[in-house]
């Protein structure tokens, strides 16, 4: 594992060589391995849901996908297929192959895409507000045609929950504040690439291949993907183990209600 990548102490305590660059990774706890694939906020350092998952007696490994927090800029990732291949590589590289997985938002979408072609990549999955379905009568909101402050309010119900991503650390030297902003911009760019202009790439037609047990979690106050999508997902996936609508949680319910998500995951993986 490499250290010393830019901002390593803030966005990614560890890094792994990946293609011509690196990916960031956060690892916590001891016990059976659980993987975590982040959402639009990436992994802004060690964050609460990872700590809560580790506290349930698991080793948690949370790699950052290419372009997201702590990883180098993606090269050659143009299509969804490119991203699915990259996700497959990252899962193997992080030692998560076949492990149970918690995934959120764009990470949950990629996990489903990968499971559709490679179900053995994961064990059971707990998915928090995946992107990937679209209903004309109840559309997914646009989180990018808005100001940064509004986007922040759309991502979590409690804006303080995303402080590690949106706010610059107070101990960061001035020149690194600029780089912190660049990393934040690149993370937002990578997320936008995955879901722009509409987050629907035909996944519904591939979901019959996802045989893994899936537990669905959705924030009742998700301002990006309406809470009604919880039932849509439950109806579309072939092997649903459970559904959970979390009060006082927005799109990234794993940031708003980390303890609740960890409890759901621990029960699903028991």
């Amino acid at each position: 594992m490499n250290a010393g990548a830019p901002l390593a102490g803030h966005f990614a305590p560890g890094t792994l060589p990946y293609r011509d660059g690196h990916i960031g990774i956060v690892e916590l706890g001891e016990g059976p391995t659980v993987g975590y694939l982040h959402g639009m906020l990436g992994n802004p350092g060690v964050h609460a849901v990872l700590e809560e998952l580790a506290a349930t007696g698991h080793r948690v490994a949370a790699p950052s996908l290419p372009g997201f927090t702590g990883s180098s800029e993606p090269e050659g990732l143009r299509t969804l297929h490119d991203w699915v291949v990259a996700t497959s590589e990252v899962v193997d590289l992080a030692g998560l192959t076949g492990a149970p997985l918690v995934a959120s938002s764009v990470g949950a979408m990629l996990a489903l895409e990968l499971a559709a072609v490679r179900p053995e990549a994961f064990g059971s999955m707990v998915l928090v507000a995946p992107f990937g379905l679209w209903d004309d009568g109840d559309p997914v909101a646009d989180p990018f045609g808005t100001t940064l402050s509004v986007q922040r309010a759309m991502l979590t119900e409690d804006t303080a929950a995303s402080a590690a991503f949106f706010d610059d650390p107070s101990d960061l030297p001035a020149d690194m504040v600029v780089e912190h902003g660049v990393h934040r911009y690149l993370t937002r760019t990578a997320a936008a690439q995955l879901i722009w202009p509409l987050p629907e790439w035909g996944l519904a037609d591939r979901l019959h291949r996802v045989t893994n047990p899936v537990t669905l979690v959705h924030g009742a106050k998700d301002r990006i993907i309406p809470a009604s999508y919880l039932e849509r997902w439950a109806g579309a996936l072939p092997n649903v183990a459970g559904t959970h609508l979390l009060d006082e949680a927005g799109h990234q319910a794993d940031f708003d209600q980390p303890a609740a998500v960890a409890r759901i995951a621990a029960a699903a993986f028991a």
Binding site: V182, R188, A192
Partner: protein, 431 residues
């Protein structure tokens, strides 16, 4: 120095309370505000104005591309260029430009410019913008993360298509073409001059400097504010050890000329206020989609032109809201505090005055920014057609002759249609 009469073609009848009642003039502007009868009259009036400018002796007429935009009624600039091509037989036409990444395949641009070059006998200048975020990302659904790569690939395809004398295959990341063969071919060989309109991306400076392309800053905020951007470009040119030929630069400027300064203040107030306070009422949430800027530009802290417009509108809006809150008003409003005409002139957004005063300022603009191509906005906002005519004619007859000689003796304009290559008007155009 070349003067290009440039038109944005704004919709002239947005309601007076537009900023208060609507979120944005761009992207989600209310379709119900568009009256096709007004559109019919407007298109024809604006074409008249472009043709009049050509008759007045402007070196060229210029147009651009916008989508879902209340201040730019040209989703297809090549259609306007085609309408002009037969009625402006002696004038060059600057399409600044075609947003290459929005054409599928971009070969369409190579073909249409070649057609226009054929009709005009070699009087086309081809501009290739990346395109604003509003046009490309929001109105046309391009992915911000791949837009620039797609754009550069498209420009590469067009240049290859114009210069290759063989049919060839193009294996791009976004364009797979077994047979590339532009028929017709442009009159200008190997191809019309290429200008790149930019908004402040440092990577665009690098690219234009390295590839010897014209860098044009189409700002709405005048030469005083645009100086830093143009200096950034020239610094890149110098770093490469190349000549800082002013004809490799272009800039856009609002100009308001009258017989006296007092008359100019009186005549141009309303159209200026309409443009800056209504037409530039752009929602800030559309200005900076993640991925549109390169990391280098983010790092350099350079702000794009439309981003600035949106930011300033938002700042005024917030100040307005604060005032309303103090006054106890709970009524929601999208409105902004108005930018005053005096501020517009003081800050250089508009060059205003009698012919002598305007000439002095244009001279200052050209020499401080080192630009040999000036895009002149003689029309702006909802300007009355008779006033447009007066402004256009006064610039052409009293200002342009005074600045036309700038740079001409010391530098060669490599980026202008070569008159010795142009074909004489034929058919009914010859008369």
């Amino acid at each position: 120095m070349k003067s290009i009469f440039f038109h944005l073609m704004p919709y002239p009848e947005l309601p007076p309370d537009f900023p208060e009642q609507h979120r944005s003039v761009w992207v989600d502007i209310d379709p119900k505000l568009y009256d096709p009868t007004v559109g019919h009259q407007t298109y024809n009036a604006y074409l008249d104005q472009l043709e009049f400018a050509a008759q007045c002796g402007f070196d060229a007429v210029g147009i651009n591309e916008h989508h879902s935009n209340g201040y730019g009624l040209m989703p297809s600039p090549n259609i306007i260029a085609a309408a002009l091509s037969r009625n402006c037989p002696d004038t060059n036409i600057v399409v600044l430009g075609d947003s290459v990444a929005l054409y599928n395949p971009p070969l369409r641009v190579a073909e249409e410019i070649a057609m226009l070059d054929g009709i005009t006998g070699g009087r086309m200048i081809a501009g290739f913008p990346v395109g604003s975020p509003m046009d490309t990302i929001y109105a046309y659904g391009q992915n911000p993360a791949t837009l620039r790569e797609r754009y550069h690939e498209g420009v590469d395809l067009i240049r290859q298509a114009w210069t290759s004398d063989e049919v060839f295959s193009f294996n791009g990341n976004y364009n797979k073409l077994r047979y590339v063969n532009v028929w017709p071919r442009p009159v200008q060989q190997p191809h019309p001059p290429i200008w790149i309109p930019g908004g402040g991306s440092v990577d665009t400076w690098d690219w234009c400097a390295a590839e010897d392309l014209v860098y044009c800053y189409l700002s709405y905020f005048g030469y005083k504010a645009g100086l830093r951007t143009m200096q950034g470009f020239w610094k890149k040119v110098q770093e490469l050890g190349k000549e800082t030929n002013p004809f490799q630069g272009g800039f856009a400027q609002f100009v308001a000329v009258a017989d006296t300064e007092a008359e100019a203040w009186d005549l141009y107030r309303e159209p200026a206020e309409y443009f800056f306070n209504t037409c530039l009422h752009v929602y800030a949430g559309y200005a900076d989609p993640p991925g549109y800027k390169t990391p280098n530009t983010v790092r350099a802290g350079v702000e794009g032109m439309v981003e600035r417009a949106a930011r300033e509108a938002t700042a005024r809006r917030e100040a307005n809201a604060a005032d309303a809150a103090k006054a106890g008003s709970a009524k929601p409003s999208f409105g902004s505090k108005k930018l005053s005409f005096e501020e517009m002139v003081e800050k250089g957004y508009i060059i205003l005055g009698n012919p002598t005063q305007v000439t002095e300022q244009v001279h200052e603009l050209a020499t401080t920014m080192n630009v040999g191509h000036l895009m002149v906005f003689s029309h702006f906002g909802n300007m009355d057609p008779e006033l447009v005519k007066m402004n256009t004619e006064m610039y052409a007859t009293k200002v342009m002759p005074e600045v036309a000689g700038l740079f001409e003796d010391d530098y060669e304009d490599h980026w202008w249609p070569k008159t010795d290559h142009q074909l004489a008007p034929v058919g009914s155009r010859a008369q």
